[in-house]
Symmetry: C2
Subunit: 203 residues, 2 copies
């Protein structure tokens, strides 16, 4: 398949890139500062430009997102700008990737978005991340019933085993998940036939 991968330069994106390449897929990578195509998907206008560039060499069969950024801060210290940054950085970006991608994707193509464990289990300073992940997961369930036979799923991991040295203290007792396992959820979403699913990894 021909797959557009957003955020391929990151820790997760690299693992997804590897897994999809191993499966024989042809990838077009995109990111703000790395990848074949350089666009900032927090700006809906740049998503349009991204699709125009990605579509030049043929139709896409899948769009996979491994990109999303949100501020971490105690609730009491958040500002309206922080909540809005979380919305633009992880929700609007991915939702517009879907909405604008409907016409770019093959008839049975799929979207795979990234969320995370904070949608279901909170940590201190993670309220904006929880908000964003909860929004994307509910959107995935809703979009699935409208866009069929095109499909949409979310991948929702806990902390990555490979990132425990940096983030482990924020997730005491949470079961981490290895990047290779998370990447397989993208393979499942893209090559399988499921839709409207949130693939929860780790706990």
């Amino acid at each position: 398949m021909r797959i557009l991968l957003i955020g391929a330069g990151g820790l997760l994106g690299s693992a997804v890139h590897q897994a999809l390449t191993d499966r024989g897929h042809k990838l077009v990578t995109a990111g703000r500062s790395s990848g074949d195509l350089r666009y900032d998907i927090t700006d809906p206008a740049q998503i349009a430009a991204l699709y125009e560039a990605a579509g030049r060499d043929g139709q896409l069969d899948a769009v996979a997102s491994a990109a999303g950024s949100v501020p971490y801060r105690p609730v009491a210290e958040m500002t309206p700008q922080d909540w809005t940054a979380a919305f633009q950085g992880k929700v609007l970006s991915q939702v517009e990737l879907v909405r604008q991608g409907l016409d770019q994707l093959s008839p049975r193509g799929s979207f795979t978005l990234i969320t995370g464990v904070l949608a279901r289990s909170p940590i201190v300073t993670g309220a904006a991340a929880s908000l964003a992940n909860g929004a994307v997961e509910a959107f995935v369930r809703a979009a699935a019933i409208e866009i069929a036979p095109q499909r949409i799923n979310a991948v929702s991991p806990t902390v990555f085993t490979e990132a425990l040295d940096v983030y482990g203290d924020f997730f005491p007792g949470f079961a981490p998940v290895g990047l290779a396992e998370v990447a397989q959820a993208y393979v499942r979403s893209i090559e399988g036939a499921e839709t409207g699913r949130v693939f929860e990894l780790g706990s």
Copy 2:
């Protein structure tokens, strides 16, 4: 208790007002175009003004929100402005009501926010509502662990029995819920000791 009720002029807000008054509470009502205090909570600056006005006569023991508006439209017809309107109209408004309310509320005071069944079960044209409800419910779980002993819950009803004539066709086979029952979830949230809960009503 002294309770600030947002959206008291609506169908749900009226029922909540009745239930809380019946329980002997003293209500201060607020809304964009009705209530004791007239403010638009989709604007964070007006929330600050609202709290200043509401706090003049003494400390608040609870804040209850029955206000939130989102656009309904097929995913393919949504615009970036529609997603943003849903965020501002139901997410940012309620999240800022909490964040700015932390200093206004008594030490064991509570926030009760409104979400809805679309967070868990989608309907066609409801993707922005799903997104907003999912965001608020995840936020409630996250905020609860930071703001204790202050508390926060969400009330998440299906279609109201009293609104079936207007909205029933959008919810085929969904079990409706009467406004009086929904209002009791506000009573439970405000007078009880639970926190971080999403009270699901109907199915």
